[in-house]
């Protein structure tokens, strides 16, 4: 009984080994190129009226950083949001599916979106920002939401999935 079993076992183990060595070819993984990711958000602020001698401002957010925007008090700026790899162009072509949301205290600034999609709903890649009084400081959070087929008639930040969140420290002087 055991004699019958032994040659079989040997053959079987050898076979198993063969399978495993034969399959051990050296194909290594290649790095995954993820072109999907948004990794940075830049906000550029141009003063509406250049006569007051207000400087433009710009800051870029990437995860882990805390960029600061220095703004003039009671001034009006035209804000433009851009992303890495020119992704803002993509967002513009699919504007019906996207919206950006600005969150900051009213004392710090008041934000009004100035660009609209084909349905007349705001996008938010462009906005007009009116700053508060001198000495105010706080945070401005800009959230890009993907609202494919969900974008409501009244802007709603709670709908859809977040593509990117940019955070900026704002100080008004």
């Amino acid at each position: 009984m055991k004699k019958l079993f032994r040659p079989y076992l040997t053959a079987f183990l050898l076979g198993a080994l063969l399978i495993s060595t034969a399959s051990c070819d050296d194909d290594d993984p290649k790095p995954v190129e993820d072109s999907e990711n948004i990794t940075s958000m830049t906000i550029s602020l141009e003063p509406v009226s250049t006569t007051k001698g207000i400087d433009p401002a710009e800051a870029t957010y990437t995860t882990g950083t805390t960029p600061t925007l220095q703004l003039a008090p009671n001034a009006t700026y035209d804000a433009t949001i851009t992303f890495n790899d020119n992704i803002e162009a993509e967002i513009n072509t699919e504007a019906e599916d996207h919206e950006l949301f600005y969150k900051a205290s009213e004392d710090l600034m008041i934000v009004q979106k100035t660009d609209f999609d084909d349905n007349g709903l705001p996008i938010g890649l462009k906005a007009r920002i009116t700053t508060g009084n001198s000495g105010e400081t706080g945070e401005l959070t800009v959230t890009l939401k993907h609202q494919e087929g969900l974008k409501p008639d009244v802007s709603d930040e709670t709908i859809g999935s977040t593509d990117f969140v940019g955070k900026f420290n704002v100080s008004i002087q």
Partner: protein
């Protein structure tokens, strides 16, 4: 752990004098059973040859059926009784010890007619799937005649709890996913991701800790994923069996929680062509399904038989009582083919199957930040609930999974020595996950390809005295590759194991012992993030791991008589950490959580104790109770981290794989009470208490207590209707109050308990000689709005509402000879 506490329950339904006798003998049993644990078992581990008889033989014709013919009351052996097997026209006369034997039997269901002077002639139905021992008890003539139906399902073959789903019970689950079908067994629940994805949970454990055996081959897909459903077509199965508790010795390391065996029926042995056609339709998600089987046996070459089988299934958006769940449809196309050649002394079988599915995932559940999740929970319903409509269309996010299995099996009857069986399996699992993307693209977000080769050789030796068993070897070779996402690394794994299991039976005592050794080698290839975080500076690392360990089982079963059996088992099993637990890295989009592996993990070691009692074959009350305690050392789980993960695309709560000691303690109770032969009450209770010993807290995501009761009325033959039944019942699932109390671990509190009303009715219509089985079943008949704790999408939406399913089954006979 004392089974005797059940006695008062039983006593209610027994005659007083029987109660007295039962009580007396129980004390003895308890004593014997307990002493078994203390005393060293003679010779069990010294034996090198062994083997469980539950081999997955499809065409098995070297089986032995033996046992004793006994007086039901005195338990005396009856000498010279006649045991007749009408199917084979063979008879045996019991020897001086009351023993009878039938050798060289094939698998199948047999009738044993037993006659003996002074006793009522009795007939027993025995299902033979492996060599088996069956004692037959006769009642004296003087007794009042009672019909005692003893079927194979009620008698236990193993000390460890096992439960099957077969026949009409299985037919009533047709059209459900595998995990859902198994919910009919106490102690088994599911872990879901919306209405389309569900996987079985046994005693609180799932995924890598529950082994699935598909047609005798260990299913290897990406089973580690909580949202990865088993890639098995339940229509293939004629029996589904669940072994609850660690079963590592026979089935290999990893089987810490339990084993699910999906068994097709044996290939036909009688010449002719026959088949089977299923048609299903449901309300709610408007599921349509059909499954057809054709099988045959060649008249000119009787050992040769074949089978072809295919299934098509399609469902659209499911509907809660208030709204449709967007993008929750599914599509499934499966087929399988088998050919077998079977002689008495040798045989072989070739089997190929393909399972292919597209599973829609609730649109709402794709989120991009923890804030999105908070918004969804606060909203309480999907944002598009009011506009959601029914459609069969599946959009992103969805999964496409294809699983191919090729199995080759051979067996040889080595003279009197025993039987040798060899199984080779090749599996290819392709998983493509299509997440919602910002830009349109036909490519998946993640693609994983897993190739697995398994081999197994088992030698079942001939019974040596009271000892029967088997010895075996198996190997697993695996290779995983990815594209588009490196969430899971490349890896190759090689596992080899040897095992031996022996069973010793004498009189009322049944002892089992088994030992197994496994070695696992794992090589991982992955890119390590550069220190500066840049994408270009990543280096390829190739860490290797070696794991090895021993699994064991020691179990005893004692037949008290009076249809009462006690079982005790102590098992140990281990599980090496999976490649995902060691090296996964990435964001889960349904929970907006970053998950990170831990390369320093060690193996899990489980010690499982179970005490069970079976009360079977009675006119009124039958049932089984199992009490279990599972201690797991180095239990691997994803623990929330205090610091969130800062990734280029955002900041996410982080989970990292961690180890702790854990215990799982619980009870499964199944009871059946026959009010009349036609009216019966079925009751199933599953209780579980799971603790993390390191944090001294409850374990997260454990199934809540569950109670399933139903009343069933069966009508016999009425004109051209037969097997008519009507059943009404309900499931009550309690709120899970045992959730972690230390630290914020869950995003929302566990949902409330709920009750679901269920009903079903069915009959078999006979059009001449053509039977047609028709049934209708309804789930959540009260259209209750509820959520399940173990549904990963419970943060977003309710569970589906009322659903009616109509089933039609037509057995076909194409030719007769």
């Amino acid at each position: 752990m004392r089974p005797s506490f059940l006695l008062p329950l039983f006593s209610l339904l027994l005659k007083p004098e029987e109660v007295l006798r039962t009580t007396l003998s129980n004390k003895n049993t308890l004593y014997v059973a307990l002493s078994l644990l203390i005393l060293p078992l003679p010779d069990i581990q010294a034996q090198s040859l062994s083997g469980p008889a539950e081999t997955e033989a499809v065409q098995d014709c070297g089986l032995t059926l033996s046992g004793k013919v006994l007086d039901h009351d005195s338990r005396e052996a009856l000498v010279g009784a006649t045991v007749y097997l009408p199917e084979l026209d063979r008879a045996a006369i019991t020897d001086a010890y009351g023993n009878y034997h039938f050798h060289q039997l094939c698998q199948g269901t047999y009738t044993l007619r037993v006659t003996y002077v002074g006793y009522e002639a009795e007939q027993f139905s025995v299902k033979v799937t492996g060599s088996a021992t069956r004692d037959l008890q006769l009642h004296t003539n003087a007794r009042e005649l009672r019909t005692v139906e003893v079927t194979g399902q009620h008698l236990r073959a193993h000390a460890q709890s096992q439960q099957e789903l077969t026949g009409q019970e299985l037919e009533q689950t047709r059209g459900l996913a595998l995990g859902e079908a198994l919910k009919g067994i106490a102690g088994v629940t599911t872990l879901q991701t919306g209405p389309t994805i569900s996987k079985p949970v046994i005693h609180g454990m799932h995924s890598n800790r529950v082994l699935l055996l598909n047609n005798g081959v260990r299913q290897e897909g990406q089973q580690w994923g909580t949202e990865h459903a088993p890639e098995i077509d339940p229509f293939v199965a004629s029996e589904m069996k669940v072994i609850k508790g660690a079963a590592g010795v026979r089935y290999g390391a990893d089987a810490i929680g339990g084993v699910v065996l999906v068994e097709p029926k044996a290939l036909p042995k009688a010449p002719g062509i026959s088949g089977d056609l299923h048609l299903l339709g449901s309300t709610n998600n408007r599921q349509l399904a059909t499954s057809a089987t054709v099988e045959g046996n060649f008249e000119k070459t009787p050992p040769l038989s074949w089978r072809l089988q295919g299934t098509l299934r399609k469902a659209g958006n499911a509907k809660t009582p208030d709204y449709y769940l967007e993008n929750t449809g599914l599509r499934e196309q499966n087929f399988s083919a088998a050919v077998g050649y079977s002689k008495e002394t040798y045989g072989s079988e070739l089997y190929y199957s393909r399972f292919s599915t597209d599973l829609g995932i609730l649109r709402e559940s794709h989120i991009g930040s923890p804030e999105d999740l908070a918004y969804a929970i606060a909203r309480g319903r999907p944002s598009n609930a009011d506009n959601a409509t029914f459609t069969y269309t599946i959009n992103r996010p969805y999964q496409h999974v294809q699983h191919d299995l090729l199995k080759a099996k051979g067996y040889w009857q080595l003279g009197e020595a025993g039987k040798l069986e060899f199984v080779y399996g090749w599996q290819r699992n392709l998983r493509e996950e299509y997440d919602v993307r910002r830009t349109s693209s036909p490519l998946p977000s993640m693609q994983l390809t897993l190739n697995t080769h398994t081999t197994e050789a088992v030698f079942a030796h001939k019974p040596l005295g009271n000892l029967s068993g088997s010895v075996g070897v198996n190997t697993i070779y695996q290779k995983n590759t990815y594209q588009y996402s490196d969430f899971l690394p490349y890896f190759t794994g090689l596992t080899a194991g040897v095992f031996s299991m022996e069973k010793w039976e004498k009189g009322r005592l049944h002892l089992e012992g088994g030992l197994r050794y496994d070695y696992k080698h794992l090589q991982v290839k992955k890119f390590e993030q550069a220190e500066d975080g840049s994408e270009s500076n990543r280096t390829l690392i190739k860490p290797t791991y070696d794991f090895n360990n021993v699994s064991g089982i020691l179990a005893a079963m004692y037949d008290v008589g009076y249809h009462l059996t006690f079982g005790l088992s102590a098992t140990s099993a281990w599980r090496a950490p999976g490649a995902n637990e060691l090296f996964s890295k990435g964001v889960h989009h349904s929970s907006a959580t970053y998950e990170e592996g831990n390369p320093g993990l060690t193996s899990e070691q489980a010690y499982n104790f179970e005490a069970s009692v079976d009360y079977f074959g009675n006119q009124r009350l039958n049932g089984s109770l199992s009490l279990y305690h599972n201690y797991i050392r180095n239990f691997i789980y994803a623990a929330p981290q205090p610091e969130p993960a800062e990734l280029p695309q955002g900041t996410f709560p982080a989970n990292k794989y961690t180890q702790a000691d854990a215990t799982f303690t619980g009870a499964d109770l199944s009871l059946r009470y026959n009010f009349t032969p036609a009216l019966q009450l079925d009751s199933k209770t599953s209780l579980l208490y799971a603790r993390n010993l390191d944090t001294d807290d409850h374990l997260i995501y454990m199934p809540p207590n569950r109670f399933d009761n139903s009343l069933r009325y069966e009508v016999g033959q009425r004109g051209s209707f037969s097997d008519t039944f009507l059943s009404v019942g309900g499931v009550y699932v309690a709120e899970q109050k045992r959730v972690p109390e230390k630290g914020e671990q869950d995003y929302a509190p566990a949902p409330d308990g709920y009750f679901l009303l269920q009903a079903s009715a069915g009959t078999t219509l006979h059009f001449g000689s053509q039977p047609v089985e028709v049934s209708i079943s309804g789930n959540n008949l009260l259209n209750t709005t509820y959520r399940q704790y173990l549904n990963r999408l419970r943060f977003y939406a309710d569970e589906p509402g009322r659903m009616l399913m109509l089933r039609l089954r037509v057995p076909l006979q194409f030719s007769k000879s």
